[in-house]
């Protein structure tokens, strides 16, 4: 990425390094949100529908984990994936895969906690009908999740926002390697440390624009789908 260009120049010129960074940021964060949703939505729904001793404590803990410090998670994943660590034989430290793993860990509590709240609210409404129709637990979860799908999209967007914005985890487990594990946020950190503040701010604007675009896209999808499904 040429140092003297502004971020706008890079966008207009179609600078390949900038494109690679944006592409990696999207792939890593979107993959993490997807994985986190696969784990977090059923988990949140199961907790919403369950009753057991210590349920309140579990919910408090889940909510608290929404605020897990990214840099701490990054460090723990780093130690786990290091060759000297338990999962070293996987050999994926300093790769995008490690970044996805770290971000999935960060995002899952957010999606699970928000899903739990959403599903629990819906359960209040649906409880009588589903019980009267003798719907089993697995089918209950599936039905509530499907009917809550629009609110759950918001939960996914919250997770995406968190993933796209964080730098602490991805820089530790990814190593910010030029052309390989450099994302928008890690590039911004690097340009800042090089004193290249205008470029850093410009990249920040690009990142914000992308996040807004993702949200706008989700909004359009939601609007069209809601119109169809009532």
């Amino acid at each position: 990425m040429p140092d003297n260009a502004s971020a706008l120049d890079l966008v207009l010129m179609g600078d390949p390094a900038l494109f690679a960074i944006v592409r990696l940021a999207l792939i890593v964060s979107l993959s993490a949100v997807l994985a986190a949703a696969v784990v977090g939505v059923p988990l949140g729904a199961a907790i919403a529908l369950s009753s057991f001793r210590g349920r309140d404590a579990v919910i408090v803990l889940l909510n608290a984990m929404m605020g897990l410090p990214p840099v701490v998670i990054g460090l723990l994943v780093y130690l786990a994936l290091s060759r000297a660590g338990p999962l070293g034989s996987w050999g994926i430290l300093f790769t995008p895969q490690a970044m996805v793993i770290a971000q999935t860990i960060l995002v899952t509590p957010i999606i699970a906690a928000l899903a739990r709240q959403t599903i629990e609210d819906l359960w209040v409404e649906y409880r009588d009908e589903l019980t009267a129709m003798e719907v089993g637990p697995a089918r209950r979860i599936a039905t509530l999740v499907w009917d809550a799908r629009f609110s759950l999209i918001t939960a996914l967007l919250a997770g995406f926002g968190r993933a796209a914005a964080e730098v602490g985890a991805v820089i530790i487990v990814g190593g910010n390697i030029d052309g390989f594990t450099r994302t928008m946020t890690t590039a911004i950190a690097l340009e800042t440390s090089k004193g290249n503040l205008p470029l850093a701010i410009g990249l920040g604007m690009v990142l914000i624009t992308i996040v807004i675009a993702v949200n706008a896209l989700a909004w359009m999808v939601r609007r069209t789908a809601e119109r169809q499904a009532g």
Binding site: D3, R23, L30, S82, A84, G175, K194, G195, T224
Partner: protein, 275 residues
């Protein structure tokens, strides 16, 4: 319907666009932030790849962290500038052999107005004594990096136990060279920097070089292949090719060829037996 198609298309395009990285012909080099920030790798690595087809991935950390990363086996090659620590690394059996590669120098940076009045001196140790006596605001990297270790050695040479005897004027920020320079620029402080990072730094503000040229500011770089005996998965053939290239006449010429604003940053000295 069209929106769904758009989304799927976008996702596929993202996933496919750009080639897959050639995992097999690549090595991981643990190096320092100051080397990366100087822009040297951006210049050197494409030359190496053009010659050998080997992709060099650089993880830039502080020297201490880079060596620890190599100790854990998370890198194939380590390229830092702290000879005592490198020799310790070798003695512990983590490295195969240390090759000197190049040197640059440190410079003392401070406000252009030089409130401490050290610019007249060509003696770094004198300058540091003055800074302490006058309690001038000083930024230290404080991160066990090569630069930080060099700074500590200079305080020691000045007869000052800086760790035990510092005041509020000495600020250890625990971050890289760029962050230290940013902080110094924002607070009119003095800071020890490597010339490479200084020359390519974009936020100089009111700072300037106040002391340079003292032999004690000499900064030697060494490269080592991580020992396959300790870490069998290390890519020893590809890694050794990189090491060999750095110290080869071609690599040394390339290093000398890297300039910022016409000024050479690094001076190759692989031939020097004392380096």
């Amino acid at each position: 319907m069209t929106i769904r198609r758009l989304l799927i298309g976008l996702f596929i395009a993202l996933a496919l666009a750009g080639g897959a990285t050639a995992q097999d012909r690549s090595i991981l080099v643990a190096s320092t932030t100051s080397t990366q920030d100087s822009g040297l790798f951006g210049y050197l690595l494409p030359l190496f790849k053009a010659k050998t087809g080997i992709e060099v991935k650089v993880v830039a950390l502080g020297t201490g962290q880079a060596l620890d990363t190599a100790r854990r086996g998370d890198a194939d090659v380590v390229f830092v500038h702290a000879k005592p620590e490198e020799e310790k690394f070798l003695a512990e059996g983590f490295g195969v052999k240390r090759y000197p590669v190049m040197y640059n120098d440190f410079v003392l940076i401070g406000p252009r107005s030089d409130p401490a009045g050290v610019a007249k001196s060509k003696d770094i140790v004198e300058a540091l004594r003055t800074l302490k006596a006058k309690e001038q605001s000083f930024i230290s990297r404080g991160d066990r990096s090569g630069t930080h270790l060099a700074e500590l050695k200079l305080w020691k040479d000045a007869g000052i136990d800086i760790e035990g005897d510092k005041g509020a004027w000495y600020k250890a920020i625990g971050q890289g060279m760029g962050a230290a320079l940013n902080t110094a620029a924002a607070s009119d402080s003095y800071v020890l920097a490597d010339r490479g990072t200084w020359l390519s730094f974009k936020n100089k503000g009111d700072l300037a070089i106040v002391v340079q040229g003292d032999k004690r500011l000499f900064n030697q770089y060494g490269v080592m292949l991580v020992s396959p005996a300790k870490h069998p998965h290390v890519k020893k053939d590809l890694g050794q090719q990189f090491v060999d290239w750095l110290v080869s006449p071609e690599g040394q010429r390339a290093i000398a060829g890297y300039k910022i604003g016409g000024e050479q940053l690094f001076f190759p000295n692989a031939e020097d037996p004392n380096a």
